[in-house]
Symmetry: C2
Subunit: 493 residues, 2 copies
């Protein structure tokens, strides 16, 4: 039966297909390892199997789902696969998937309190839960965005709002009104990150009109942590040149190596110079809930803002990024704008989420966070995050014990950066090329997927653990594949 002329999908067809999908997804989650983790299709292969025009008549969901399995599924890289060790490994967990199913059906658009009181208030409640679990003080108010890129963008927009008088109305013209600015050959504002800070900060300064040259990348120490002495010098130099240090972005769990910047010392520098401190804890912030890691974010207590992504390492389906900010009023004064058609007679005490950002519309993302946190519980979340860290340390110990591999960075959380140093009998080899070949070879296996980075100029393989289906057995299998990859690459050499 195809679609009716009007109305939604036939209710009984929906029920039938929803049940079929429930089984398909349950099977998928239980057996995702039977798929090759990295899609094996060639560029254009999916596109070429699909028509260039929408069908004229409606089709049954049965037909559509058949094409999903035949055409779309082979082009899926399985982020929910136990052998996914690339980038940051993530989990669309059971309770999170169920919550997204429900959220799609409710189709909430939480721009105003009245358009979804539950989405608005549950966001506040769950972000309070998360804040307490990671030991951030009360002064931090939370708001959910889609991605860390957007959270960081808002943090830097708030920093700009504080640093540049009248920027909302006058834009960066106000820069020209600053002391000395007319004698400068550039905008006077500077944002600081380290050479390990995420690229979202580059995109943010570009979007905000500050220009890429406003970003100063401070060098790191041997363990990829921002050098506070270098930060101090850069700030002093910039101030002497008549520039205004606007914000520092420090990282807890950087993207390449998961290094942790010395937040407390950086916070002291920022306090001294009245610079906005934004902490990027998108990946590793949740580790602060684990026993022995309670002090992880202690230095961030006086930061102005901090981002942590439940969709990274808190088992929440993508997307859900949380910005905690001690001055959310600055974001409101930057962005609040209420046209007549959105005015309400609700009490002024209610929070309208559209006031804290660039996006008017907002999905009901707190629902999945709530269901995930309740289903696993604080101890369950802790145990799982701790287990991922244990597995990473275990893998690191194999690397450390090996004569043909070396570790390239400390392992504070669940990511290991390492490389093969070459077969023992090789005199002169291109180590980078060797490791590239190993990576390609293990990724071709279909059993695991790893990515790479470059550290102190060396090509480094990254193994990231973060999927709930990943067990010690999968990590052990990864190590076996990697060592076999080295043998194969050496033979080919």
């Amino acid at each position: 039966m195809t679609a009716h002329r009007f109305g939604d999908m036939d209710p009984e067809a929906f029920r039938r297909e929803a049940h079929r999908l429930a089984d398909w997804i349950a099977d998928y989650l239980a057996n995702s390892s039977r798929y090759p983790v990295l899609a094996r299709v060639a560029p254009g292969e999916i596109r070429s199997q699909l028509p260039s025009e929408a069908p004229v008549s409606g089709e049954t969901f049965d037909d559509i789902f058949r094409d999903f399995e035949k055409i779309i599924l082979p082009g899926i890289t399985h982020w929910n696969h136990p052998g996914f060790f690339a980038y940051f490994a993530i989990t669309g967990s059971g309770p999170g998937i169920l919550a997204e199913f429900l959220s799609a059906a409710l189709n909430q658009q939480a721009m105003l309190w009245r358009t979804s009181p539950s989405a608005t208030e549950l966001e506040e409640v769950t972000l309070g839960w998360l804040r307490r679990l990671i030991h951030l003080p009360d002064g931090f108010e939370g708001v959910i965005y889609d991605t860390a890129s957007i959270s960081t963008l808002h943090a830097l927009a708030a920093a700009r709002e504080r640093a540049v008088p009248h920027v909302r109305h006058r834009g960066l013209w106000a820069a020209g009104e600053q002391r000395n600015a007319r004698t400068l050959d550039r905008l006077p504002f500077v944002v600081y990150g380290s050479d390990q800070t995420h690229s979202s900060i580059d995109k943010a300064v570009i979007l905000l009109g500050l220009g890429h040259e406003s970003l100063r990348r401070i060098p790191c120490d041997a363990d990829f942590r921002m050098r506070v002495d270098a930060l101090r010098s850069a700030i002093a130099e910039d101030r002497a040149a008549g520039l205004t240090p606007m914000a520092v972005v420090a990282t807890v769990g950087s993207t390449s190596t998961t290094s942790v910047d010395p937040i407390r010392e950086i916070a002291a520098v920022c306090a001294e110079h009245n610079i906005w401190l934004h902490v990027d804890a998108a990946y590793a912030g949740v580790a602060a809930m684990c026993h022995g890691y309670e002090h992880l974010l202690e230095g961030a207590a006086t930061a102005d803002s901090l981002v942590v992504n439940p969709h990274k390492w808190l088992f929440t389906p993508f997307d859900a990024s949380v910005l905690y900010c001690r001055h959310l009023d600055l974001l409101r004064s930057a962005f609040s704008l209420v046209p007549e058609y959105l005015k309400t007679t609700d009490p002024s005490a209610v929070r309208n989420l559209m006031d804290t950002g660039i996006q008017l519309g907002r999905r009901f993302r707190a629902l999945k966070l709530w269901m995930v946190m309740r289903h696993f519980g604080a101890e369950g979340l802790r145990d799982r995050i701790a287990e991922h860290m244990r597995l990473a340390r275990l893998f690191a110990s194999w690397v450390d014990d090996s004569e043909t591999f070396e570790r390239l960075a400390p392992v504070p959380f669940s990511v290991v950066c390492f490389r093969a140093t070459g077969p023992v009998d090789a005199i002169q080899i291109d180590v980078d090329a060797l490791n590239e070949r190993i990576l390609e070879s293990v990724n071709r296996s279909g059993e695991i997927f790893l990515s790479h980075t470059r550290l102190h100029g060396k090509y480094a393989i990254r193994l990231a653990i973060g999927n709930l289906h990943t067990t010690e057995q999968h990590v052990r299998r990864a190590w076996n594949l990697i060592t076999a990859g080295l043998s194969e690459a050496s033979r080919l050499h």
Copy 2:
């Protein structure tokens, strides 16, 4: 049974709960009208029923779902209710909900082609389908963002990239290098909208560092369409003052009244002065696929960019906004940034979606668009959109035929703006207050939810039709409730 210590939710518990949810959602969609459409809770009522700490131990999904029904559901404003006539009425349709369920399970993060070839290529295919259905020429390349606010932000970022030399690197300093700029007392760039243009354009110019004063709102004619003569005069005036007209935002289906700006004439002005033309067709763009509306976007053929939101009137669950752009390379040159850990050896021909925007991470939103378009088919989509327009015209005819109501704007699509003019026997009444009381009274009914706007200074009630469950019977019931609301409000007067 509660959660295990490690791993995801128990697979059989997931299966059981997914089936239960399938039934719950099927029942919900079939009977959403049994809930009051506008949530009846008081501010703080949801929050006060929830603990301030996450549970220590994990809980069964059964317990969590019980609280969802008891605590969360009463705080839901039912956007998927046939009596939802507020703002823009939307639909989370059956095929779209199923697609979101699947998308959450696959948990794709489509930043790079290789991290999801299917999400990347299906986005290209479905946006080609939609583009052809709404009769936009081939030159428009599409990309999916979350909201129209973000689509419009990217459009204006591309306009800024074109208008301001070296803005990526130097920021808005480059402004100071423009001819005459040093003699100005403001940034030299101007963005034009009408007094009906959506507030997202205000937020975009603020975020981009242009400042709110860079936005010029051109007056409209009596039917809320941008006056092209006034636009011409404003541009001439600004150019004479040494300013640089940067972009014009024209609207097809404005938020208050769904008015349509004279796009062809505006496009001619923009071409003449080399100004970026962005067309906001977020709501009404899809109407261009209907018989008799094929020419709706004809004038936009030479626009630089256009936004249309499948989550508004194309039955796709929130969120999914499409930006079509004829110079997506400009967005790429504004934002493309590839750190080592995201470099791939894939052929340079592949499209990496992270290159076209501020957000690195992207959900697999094309899946729901694909399933919705296939399930309803082009004719099915047309019929449904046309039916909503028929219902709006029908409602408008009742307003027009009434002695106690008047229509306040034309009805080009599916939104009717009107007001009660008062009981015939009233000599002197506050008409605005009367209509506010009518709105409050009908919204209290729980059967329908309407919102308001203000037109030529008059408080106007808006009835927006866009939910697939809405039938003529619901629209008729709305009219009865509104006329009864007038009687009640008049008695109270």
